[in-house]
């Protein structure tokens, strides 16, 4: 195949990858305060897409206000989920919390099923115009929307965690929750906040990717699997790690499907992932120093 096709494969890999990355950074936010993986992250994505569909297509609210309403609603759901299920647990273990998030994931899927049924919903592109052409390859406007949203979100997160006190306090919660309480940090409130933030970003991911990937009540968890892979591969807690890994995963899948075998593309990309984990047990961006500090 020629250069043009290669470019196209990379571009569509980036689009797929940015979807994974977007979901991956949602995992990181909650990991950064609680050290757990939130299995319901995919459901935030799903709810983002489906709620926007209802607001925009069924209630005919214009796109921008509909998106804002959706994000508020998903954020509230995230807060509600944390307050009702994780908040009441005394002395939770990591495994307990993870299973609670699995329970929440199933529950939210059940809710979505009873509201939206089993249909596959689609949204129009936010900017309906034909795909751009770059060097003979095409790229849709919606892919650009996803990229822009991803870049803004990750820049915001980077700034938030490195430069704001609240962000640092959130990181402190996961490193040492007891010491964090001794600083007067309201650990439980920050955990709630992290769920709000993760739900918001999950919702944003859902809103922007639904025009590309379509959405139904169980699609969130399928996408979340790849998002999880991106988060882990990048090094848990590293926003840029997730983006890098998500992109790598997307581009690998795309190139394997394009040049080797579409049937085995998931197997090949997973094998690569296993290999990378074998070489770098803390993910691409996971610094050895930090891992050993966490273990001490």
């Amino acid at each position: 195949m020629n250069w043009q096709n290669f470019l196209q494969l990379v571009l569509s890999g980036i689009t797929i990858g940015s979807i994974y990355a977007f979901i991956g950074i949602g995992f990181n936010i909650i990991y950064n305060t609680t050290s757990i993986i939130n299995f319901a992250q995919g459901e935030f994505v799903m709810l983002g897409g489906l709620i926007l569909y209802s607001f925009h297509q069924s209630f005919h609210i214009p796109l921008i206000p509909a998106i804002l309403l959706t994000l508020i609603l998903v954020t509230l759901i995230g807060i509600g989920m944390e307050r009702l299920t994780l908040h009441p647990v005394k002395n939770p273990t990591v495994l307990n919390m993870i299973i609670i998030t699995i329970g929440c994931s199933i529950f939210l899927k059940g809710v979505a099923l009873s509201i939206w049924g089993r249909e596959v919903y689609h949204l129009p592109f936010f900017f309906p115009r034909p795909p751009f052409r770059i060097g003979g390859a095409s790229i849709t406007t919606q892919s650009l929307v996803v990229w822009v949203a991803l870049i803004i979100s990750s820049a915001f997160l980077y700034f938030f965690y490195r430069f704001t006190l609240l962000g640092k306090a959130m990181r402190a919660c996961s490193v040492n929750p007891v010491a964090a309480r001794l600083m007067g940090i309201k650990v439980k409130s920050l955990i709630t906040l992290s769920f709000a933030l993760a739900a918001f970003l999950g919702g944003l991911a859902g809103v922007t990717i639904t025009p590309i990937s379509l959405m139904d009540y169980q699609r969130g968890s399928l996408l979340a699997l790849k998002g999880f892979a991106a988060a882990v591969l990048g090094g848990l807690g590293k926003e840029f790690g997730a983006i890098l890994a998500g992109m790598a995963l997307g581009i690998t899948e795309s190139l394997v499907a394009g040049y080797i075998s579409s049937g085995y593309k998931d197997a090949v990309s997973l094998l690569i992932l296993l290999f990378i984990l074998f070489v770098r047990p803390g993910g691409i961006m996971g610094s050895k120093e930090e891992i050993s500090l966490r273990e001490l």
Binding site: Y31, I37, T85, P88, V89, N91, P92, T93, V94, L95, N96, M97, I99, I100, I102, G103, C104, S105, I106, F107, L108, K109, G110, V111, L113, S114, L225, F228, A229, V232, L233, L236, S261, G263, Y264, D266, A267, L270, L271, L273, L274, L277, F278, P281, G282, G283, E295
Partner: protein, 310 residues
């Protein structure tokens, strides 16, 4: 050991009497699945509850056991027990490959690696159409026979399965009550401690993976011969997660918990099936409530009565 034996006799006595009291093939059939899942969870609980490792890829070994013995008996006409042995062999080999990276990986990273393994198995089942039948699966797997007794009824398969559950339970119990079990339980602490006491941590981690894979693979072979039809959709990540749920809901690090968890989560969908759309709501709520109110699993409801080491 003696204390556990009493519980064992009572529990398995009741189980073995069950088909005589309740003749419904439906319930017996569900109990067969309970038995099959129990074998997996009995193995997995050694890995997760004792050796402190995590596996989100157990469905992969279950699939390897099922497909190997299914394919060998159906396509190549091999006797079922050879198929089962071949499945066990292949699973042990694969779990060795999986266990090696596990020596380096921890927590969520290990979870991801095992999950990746399970997914790779799933992709291969789908894509290797010539051998596995691809997504459509394949059927007409011959029934097992045991000492000349053809296991083609629910009842006979029930006794066969639960006989194995009983044996596997005894094996697990013996393991945990032996020096090997002690060493396995020592892996729960930070790695450097058992290492400094001469425990070959690497060996035991690999051992626990092999043990769990062995159980899962055997259960897979039973599943293949009981269902007589296999397709990849039975061996997904959802099953791997379900198996972990069974162990945690039942009670991590407790053989009775493994049995109980498998039982509860096998029966729950049967009871909930009539609720259809609400099933997921109830199921999710159930999991959340158990974890909030019984974080140590359902076995913690009956303290004192508990088997090993907890």
């Amino acid at each position: 050991m003696r204390k556990e034996l009493k519980g064992l006799v009572i529990f398995f006595g009741l189980i073995f009497l069950f088909p005589l009291l309740v003749k419904s093939p439906y319930y017996i059939g569900v109990l067969v699945f309970w038995g099959i899942y129990s074998i997996i969870t009995l193995g997995l609980t050694i890995l997760m509850g004792y050796a402190g490792q995590i596996s989100l890829g157990q469905a992969g070994f279950f699939a390897v056991g099922a497909y190997t013995s299914g394919i060998l008996t159906t396509r190549f006409g091999l006797p079922p027990w050879l198929g089962i042995l071949a499945g066990l062999g292949l699973s042990l080999l694969l779990s060795l490959f999986l266990a090696l990276p596990s020596l380096k990986l921890k927590g969520h990273y290990l979870a991801m690696a095992t999950l990746g393994f399970g997914e790779i198995v799933h992709v291969v089942l789908n894509a290797w159409v010539g051998v596995t039948g691809g997504p459509s699966g394949f059927g007409e797997i011959p029934a097992l026979s045991f000492l000349g007794w053809k296991l083609d009824s629910e009842m006979s398969f029930f006794y066969f399965t639960w006989g194995w559950v009983f044996l596997f339970f005894l094996f697990s119990l013996s393991l945990l009550k032996s020096p090997y079990g002690r060493a396995l339980r020592s892996l729960h602490a930070e790695e450097r401690i058992p290492l400094s006491l001469g425990v070959n941590v690497y060996f035991y981690k690999v051992f626990a993976f092999l043990w769990a894979a062995f159980y899962a693979s055997f259960a897979g072979s039973l599943y293949a011969h009981f269902m007589t039809f296999l397709s990849p959709s039975s061996f997904t990540l959802i099953l791997s997660i379900l198996l972990v749920l069974m162990i945690v809901v039942g009670g991590l690090g407790n053989l009775w918990g493994a049995l109980l968890g498998a039982g509860i989560l096998t029966f729950l969908p049967e009871i909930l099936r009539t609720f259809e759309d609400f099933e997921m709501l109830i199921y999710g709520t159930f999991l959340i409530l158990v974890m909030i109110f019984l974080p140590k699993g359902l076995v913690s409801l009956r303290r004192g009565k508990v088997a090993t080491g907890d």
